[in-house]
């Protein structure tokens, strides 16, 4: 439109619905709202189904959950490897030779649910770890003879045992999961199997990612809620990219298959030889473990994985907007917490980190007691443990079900608990200041009222600072991340930056507010009005500031607070959104009573302020 890409309309639907049908419905609604625009798109006459079928598409898919068995010589090493594998999005089972006997270890790897084995050791293993390695390597090599379809990652000094794996082809480089970064950036982008300082990194005896892709595609699950969006350019005009429509809905027709239908379709495709991948140890990279995480992500994810796509999009968006950005994405198959920040002279480079956790699904498979604890901690509905577990399991079976009324409260609690698990898994982010832009993504957030999403972000991100809040309502960040060329992705992002994120408002989160009747005053001025409110410690106060409006907020505190610098007076530029301006004067970290009733009452009071319709 007007020589640039625009997001014209978007829709979200469960994955059992045909993408073409979603597109036709979208265009029909567009035609009802603006027939002229429909005519501009060339969709006003003729056969609409045929037309949409010929539009090019950008497709991203959620990689189904996959399980890795982590084996190590010592408990310490096992924990480090497990941590890295978890951040790479794997479901992890683990054992160590000093704590488990070989029968237990082989059971982990021989289970049909396990698709890969990570055998790792320190770069210079100590004696207690080193003496177990020959036996472990022999065990894993033996397991690959029984299960030749297993992918094996030998990390750190465990790579020295590659000769134990009897079947060897000529070494080939690991197929890239994503291209390396284009443009002027110096950092590897998320999910890219880029170059590593460790010579062992990325070497493969057989093309591992190809086999991973084959088996993952075969086992693809329809359970993940599928995003759908459309971006279109004026027909006939040479567009900036060969992609005119984006659709992340898996191309599946007919009804959603049941567990019985999908479970064992896959593997006629058992490959003939084991897949050995040599990788760096669990300390390599920055932050430590990043190099191994990259290798494990490449092994796990589909090439157009939507979760890694979100991380890549944030990376590009941070460059385009020249802002620090954090995103939390929560889905059925896992969650993602990513941060990207321009740095250096001219901000030409972007540094990014991310963690994608299978356990950060809003409804994890076989939820542990900790998951239930987390859920109950955020629930405003009184539930016993068994009932909570039953409802969480049902949510996994029907992820789109009961999205209204009390179901919405339960889903909100599940999403917040998943967000909490992501924060727990990324302690390095706690050292960073609050980002300039904080984005929520995922179907569970987009189905909730925007003001509630804003409150959820404020509840979980307890770092002092000021941030703009936004929601990836069109769920287009995943598909955009599937664009391989970084330059092209940035160009598209530059065009769409104003369209793709729905503004939720701004968050002011001071630390060190002392209890009392009043903490100070806030005056907000925009082009036409000025208003003043008193600030109350322990409260979340909301000032109406609609989307598209900006204003200057002057805060005057009775005592010095951190925002993030310590002072009494602050003058801050804030932006509006559907949730308005949130001034969160609760403690950092948040302190709520441990008693379930008091806790629920406190959560409910904060929630009612943002969601008055909850009483309906």
């Amino acid at each position: 439109m007007g020589g640039r890409w625009r997001l014209i309309a978007h829709a979200t639907a469960p994955s059992h619905i045909e993408p073409d049908e979603v597109l036709i419905g979208l265009l029909t609604r567009l035609g009802a709202a603006d027939p002229g625009m429909l005519a501009d798109l060339g969709a006003d006459g003729g056969d609409m189904p045929t037309l949409v079928a010929t539009w090019p598409r950008l497709v991203a898919r959620t990689t189904p959950e996959r399980r890795i068995a982590v084996l190590a010589g010592s408990r310490r090493q096992r924990r480090r490897l497990e941590n890295v594998a978890l951040r790479a999005g794997w479901l992890v089972v683990g054992g160590s030779a000093d704590g488990d006997d070989p029968v237990v270890l082989s059971r982990l790897a021989l289970s049909p649910e396990t698709t890969a084995v990570l055998l790792g050791a320190d770069r210079s293993p100590s004696g207690d770890e080193k003496r177990h390695l020959p036996d472990l390597a022999a065990l894993v090599a033996a397991i690959t003879r029984t299960r030749p379809e297993l992918a094996v990652v030998l990390a750190g000094s465990a790579a020295a045992y590659e000769s134990d794996f009897g079947i060897f082809d000529e070494p080939t480089a690991i197929a890239p999961v994503a291209p390396t970064v284009g443009g002027r950036s110096t950092q590897p982008e998320p999910g890219a199997a880029g170059p590593s300082n460790d010579k062992a990194a990325g070497q493969s005896k057989t093309p591992v990612s190809a086999s991973a892709e084959a088996s993952a595609q075969a086992a693809e699950s329809a359970a993940e809620v599928a995003p759908s969006a459309a971006a279109a350019a004026t027909p006939g005009r040479p567009g900036p990219a060969p992609t005119a429509a984006a659709d992340a809905t898996p191309g599946r027709s007919g009804p959603a298959p049941t567990a019985a239908e999908t479970a064992f379709r896959s593997p006629d495709a058992i490959l003939a030889s084991p897949h050995i991948l040599l990788a760096p140890d669990a300390d390599a990279g920055s932050p430590p473990g990043a190099s191994l995480q990259q290798v494990l992500e490449g092994l796990r994810a589909l090439p157009n994985d939507s979760r890694l796509g979100v991380a890549r999009s944030i990376y590009s968006l941070a460059y385009v907007l020249d802002r620090s950005i954090e995103i939390v994405e929560v889905g059925l198959q896992g969650g993602l917490l990513a941060r990207a920040e321009p740095y250096g002279q001219g901000h030409f480079a972007v540094v990014s980190s991310h963690a994608g956790l299978a356990d950060a699904s809003f409804a994890p498979k076989n939820p542990s007691e900790e998951v239930i604890d987390g859920l109950l901690a955020w629930s405003t509905v009184a539930l016993d443990r068994h009932r909570a577990m039953d409802r969480l399991n049902d949510l996994r079976l029907v992820p789109w079900g009961e999205a209204d009324g009390e179901g919405a409260s339960f889903r909100l609690a599940a999403a917040k608990a998943a967000f909490g698990r992501l924060i727990e898994a990324t302690p390095e982010l706690a050292d960073h200041p609050l980002p300039e832009l904080l984005v929520a993504a995922g179907g569970i957030f987009t189905a909730l009222p925007p003001s509630l999403v804003a409150l959820a972000l404020a509840d979980l991100v307890r770092r002092p600072g000021v941030s703009h809040l936004a929601l990836d309502e069109a769920r287009i960040l995943g598909p955009l991340g599937a664009i391989e060329d970084e330059t092209e992705r940035r160009r598209l992002m530059a065009n769409l930056a104003d369209d793709i994120l729905m503004p939720l408002g701004s968050l002011i989160l001071p630390a060190g507010v002392r209890p009392g009747r009043s903490a100070g005053h806030l005056r907000i001025r925009d082009a036409t009005t000025m208003s003043e409110i008193e600030l109350h410690p322990g409260a979340v106060q909301v000032i109406d500031l609609p989307p598209g409006r900006t204003g200057r907020a002057d805060l005057e505190f009775r005592d010095a607070v951190r925002l993030p610098k310590r002072a009494h007076h602050f003058s801050i530029e804030v932006g509006g959104g559907l949730g308005g301006l949130l001034v969160d004067l609760r403690d950092i970290p948040m302190r709520i009573s441990d008693r379930p009733d008091s806790r629920r009452a406190a959560l409910e009071a904060w929630q009612r302020g943002m969601w008055p319709e909850s009483d309906e």
């Binding site: 068994h386 399991n393 049902d394 999205a403």
Partner: protein
């Protein structure tokens, strides 16, 4: 109308396509029996199995055993038998081992069967060495030469299991003294059989997919008793139903499960079961496995999930039509298997829908029309449909994502 004929004639109204379809029957599904280190498959790919055919031998309480070096078979020894030097096939499992006389030569690693198929076994000429060299996953039998055990424990006990790995020329195994035979609950063709990993069977017949299954694969005649308000009282599970797979209605209680197991009932079918009941059942199974008392296999299947709701009427009608026939409960994946593919299906209007979640969960009725985007409780906007539930006089607006339709 039979299932296959119905499948061919299925027509979905365009508007209903947005409602998720629930397949009532699947044909020739592939099921899995999981094995663990120490377990072996007694069948090979391509073998036909019937209900009751031994398909695997489990090693109970398999433990780590250091075997030492095993001689490879290097020359033809007429009449040679046995698995490895220094071991003798015998003991309580002799009859079974006699059936498993020969194994393949070193096969392609990607498709190595656990043992030779029946056809291959017949082709082996007499007097030819049919032993395979030791390799991971191979069945191993040992006894008095166990290492690391006190002299009293060695005795004459035989242990058996599967080889794990070899290091410095010495083999290790996962083996134990107690074993149990796993019999197939279904008829079909073995598609994959790997010691210590799994046996996969393509079922000859059809199946109703479930959401959750627990216990063990089991088989019995289908008993559809009269339900009270959609539920079956636990007291109705008496010894007269021993050997049956009983349709138990809305939700399974811990009491019903305990009582069914005590009465030698082979399985329960319900719409839902709670996570607490599943944990109780698993704990009870573990205790029973640890004891020496043998037990009949027992399985349960929940067709919808965990939340309480009545069984879908088309499925209940299907089960009623199949009452008295042999059925099997399979746990991986959750299936209720019929031996026959041509199952009589109930007639159902094409616009028949059911609420699968939300406040109307379990209610059934007819689709009237789409209601577009609609504001629901809590100010949540969702795509909606106008439906008329069977027991309501007025129409109801329901989120489309809370509905399901049936596909035969």
């Amino acid at each position: 109308m039979t299932a296959r004929a119905r499948l061919a004639a299925t027509e979905i109204p365009a508007e209903l396509a947005r409602v998720v379809g629930r397949r009532v029957l699947v044909f020739s599904p592939t099921i899995r029996y999981r094995l663990a280190p120490g377990d072996r498959a007694l069948v090979a790919p391509g073998d036909m199995v019937e209900p009751g055919t031994p398909i695997a031998e489990r090693t109970l309480e398999a433990e780590f055993v250091e075997i030492g070096p095993i001689d490879r078979p290097t020359e033809i020894k007429p009449g040679a038998r046995g698995e490895a030097s220094g071991t003798v096939a015998g003991g309580s499992l002799a009859r079974l081992w006699a059936n498993v006389q020969a194994e393949h030569e070193e096969p392609h690693p990607g498709s190595r069967p656990a043992i030779a198929s029946m056809a291959d076994r017949k082709q082996a000429p007499p007097g030819v060495e049919r032993r395979r060299p030791p390799m991971p996953g191979k069945w191993w039998v040992g006894g008095g030469d166990r290492r690391g055990k006190p002299a009293r424990a060695k005795g004459d006990q035989r242990i058996a299991g599967t080889l794990l790995y070899q290091v410095n020329g010495r083999w290790n195994a996962a083996a134990g003294e107690r074993h149990e035979i796993v019999e197939s609950a279904v008829a079909g063709i073995v598609r994959e059989a790997r010691n210590a990993v799994e046996v996969r069977i393509e079922v000859a017949g059809s199946a109703v997919p479930g959401a959750i299954a627990a216990g063990e694969p089991s088989r019995g005649y289908l008993d559809v008793p009269r339900l009270t308000d959609g539920d079956l009282w636990a007291s109705a599970l008496d010894v007269g139903r021993a050997g049956a797979v009983v349709v138990a209605g809305t939700r399974l209680s811990a009491q019903a499960i305990s009582r069914a197991r005590a009465m030698s009932i082979r399985g329960l079918i319900a719409c839902s079961v709670g996570e607490g009941e599943l944990r109780d059942l698993e704990a009870s199974r573990q205790r029973q496995r640890a004891s020496l008392a043998p037990s009949v296999s027992f399985g349960l299947i929940a067709l919808d999930g965990h939340g309480r709701r009545p069984l879908a009427t088309p499925i209940l009608a299907l089960l009623a039509a199949m009452a008295g026939r042999e059925v099997a409960i399979v746990t991986d994946p959750p299936l209720l298997v019929f031996d026959d593919s041509d199952v009589p299906l109930p007639e159902l209007p094409p616009d028949w829908i059911r609420a699968r979640s939300g406040p109307h969960a379990g209610r059934e009725g007819r689709w009237i029309k789409s209601a577009g985007l609609y504001r629901f409780r809590g100010g949540i906007h969702l795509e909606a449909a106008v439906v008329r539930f069977a027991d309501y006089t007025d129409t109801t607006v329901v989120p489309v994502t809370d509905l399901e339709r049936f596909i035969f």
